[in-house]
């Protein structure tokens, strides 16, 4: 089989394995040790590790630098890239740079609006000017052009192709639900090779959305990794359900968490059960785990969900 970028994640999926990716949030500071410590904690647990790009518009170490630090530690990164902060010139320049640094997976996102940065204790940068020159679907097409035709968005050539295994996000349960499968189809058409979904808690509704995508033939064209957020408390679940669009948490799951004597333990159990439940949905090819600045819980969850050892693939 001809590989598009030859990343470990691509090889794992191409070999038919159930893939595991986990999220690694970069620090709000310049200390490379933070990334290295997370790398040690998570080594061997996943096929690739997502490095977020200033998520919630909060300033953090860049995803390119974080991804390179992971590479140096021997872990394969998925570099996230948003359209919020860079125009098509900067996006393409950073992609060429990332490619030169050995980064092979890139997840294309619109990015959280800068207004989101002012929340909790943070002042953030709500007065910042955003860019949004292109959107996430146009960014996917840019990556595909750089890889398959060695051309820029304008049509001008680049000297060599820039090989990326191209990722996109999917929020199947957000309003307008009828359009979400079509939007997934657009992302695949634009260039997506793999998909990481918004967090799944309502498995039946998620499975129904995937079935719809499958009926359209989309699951044959893209590898969908179901998003899993490890919940820590009933309050967190309620927040996700009410405040984060596209995250649907069934009421009985919230009640179960409320009744749990040790919510943290129960949260890990819920994550494990969800992984097992999505694993059997036809069309789901892996999971993407987010512990949101609580990565220490991941080894136990991944182990107990029977996802270890991660497959060996020939690089």
């Amino acid at each position: 089989m001809k590989l598009r970028a030859g990343s470990r994640l691509e090889r794992v999926l191409a070999a038919g394995h159930f893939a595991v990716t986990v999220e690694v949030g970069p620090p709000q500071g310049p200390d490379a040790e933070v990334i290295r410590r997370k790398a040690e904690l998570l080594r061997g647990l996943a096929d690739a590790y997502n490095v977020t790009d200033n998520q919630t518009a909060v300033v953090r170490m860049s995803s390119i630098a974080g991804a390179r630090l992971l590479l140096e530690a021997g872990l394969e990164p998925v570099m996230q890239m948003t359209c919020r902060d860079r125009n098509r010139i900067a996006l393409q320049s950073d992609l060429l740079g990332a490619s030169a640094l050995g980064i092979k997976n890139c997840l294309c996102l619109s990015g959280d609006h800068q207004k989101a940065s002012a929340s909790g204790k943070l002042k953030g940068h709500p007065g910042a000017k955003n860019v949004y020159d292109v959107d996430s679907i146009q960014l996917l097409a840019i990556l595909k052009g750089l890889r398959d035709q060695a051309v820029q968005s304008s049509g001008d050539p680049i000297e060599q192709p820039s090989p990326f295994f191209i990722g996109a996000a999917w929020t199947p349960l957000a309003t307008p639900e009828a359009f979400r499968t079509l939007r997934l189809a657009k992302k695949i058409e634009a260039g997506a090779d793999f998909i990481q979904t918004q967090a799944v808690f309502d498995v039946p509704r998620f499975a129904a959305a995937v079935a719809k995508a499958r009926a359209m033939g989309l699951c044959d064209r893209v590898a969908i990794l179901a998003g899993i957020i490890v919940p820590r408390s009933a309050r967190m679940l309620r927040y996700l359900n009410e405040r984060v669009p596209g995250v649907e948490v069934p009421e009985d799951l919230i009640r179960r968490m409320e009744a749990a004597p040790q919510p943290a333990t129960e949260g890990k159990r819920i994550a494990k059960e969800t992984i097992k439940a999505v694993r059997v949905i036809p069309g789901i090819r892996g999971v993407h785990l987010q512990a949101i600045e609580n990565e220490a819980v991941l080894p136990e969850i991944i182990h107990s969900a029977d996802l270890l050892p991660r497959p060996e693939v020939k690089m």
Partner: protein, 223 residues
């Protein structure tokens, strides 16, 4: 129409303190329609400013005048007689009007009294919503008459981000519709949802500000 809103009174007080006599100039066009800078607003703001400045120990004489349009030379000319009699102008016109007055009377300082914010539609009394961003590359024909540039927080071109609330509002503001949700609804009602499957290419932003300051020349209308 062009929408503007009063600057905060303390900001105006800081700018005006030290002056003894100013002209508060209104404009009877857009800013009057959006209740920010018409004659009524001029006559409302003048006593407020007088009071605020006098409390601060800077009593100020304010002359008021509202012209038909501060963005047209012939109406700006009506201010020529008053300008020599004041130390500064506080204009409640949009940014265009402020610049026209400053250009016609370069000898005097013209302060903006409003912030110009958007091109909007009056949806109902007391409610204006942004509808156009003068992007220079209009796509309304393909988005069922709803503008994703001005009405989507991220100006997305290919459908909604993951941040549409259950009730169809934008995650950034519970009072603002997700325009892509509206586009999808309208397309579905017309039975044309499939038309939104077409991938829209990156926009050409160069016809507007991003192409540099714009200048429109019509030879057929030149003197």
């Amino acid at each position: 129409m062009i929408i503007a809103e009063w600057k905060p009174i303390p900001e105006l007080v800081r700018k005006l303190s030290g002056h003894r006599r100013i002209l508060l100039a209104g404009c009877a066009c857009c800013v009057a329609e959006c209740a920010a800078g018409g004659e009524r607003e001029v006559e409302t703001l003048a006593p407020l400013l007088r009071l605020a400045l006098s409390v601060e120990g800077h009593p100020l004489e304010i002359v008021t005048r509202t012209v038909e349009r501060q963005c047209e030379w012939e109406f700006v000319e009506e201010l020529a007689e008053i300008i020599p009699k004041v130390e500064a102008v506080l204009s409640l016109a949009c940014g265009i009007g402020v610049q026209a007055v400053a250009e016609r009377f370069p000898e005097i300082t013209v302060f903006p009294g409003v912030n110009t914010t958007s091109l909007a539609l009056r949806e109902e009394p007391g409610l204006w919503t942004a509808r156009c961003q003068a992007c220079g590359d209009c796509v309304l024909g393909e988005t069922f008459g709803l503008c994703p540039v001005a009405r989507c927080a991220k100006s997305l071109q290919n459908g909604p981000c993951g941040g549409t609330r259950k009730n169809g509002k934008c995650e950034l503001d519970e009072n603002v519709d997700c325009v892509w949700n509206l586009i999808v609804e309208r397309a579905a009602k017309r039975g044309q949802l499939e038309s939104l499957l077409r991938i829209r290419e990156p926009k050409n932003w160069s016809n507007s500000f991003h192409g540099g300051p714009q200048r429109m020349l019509r030879e057929d209308l030149r003197p």
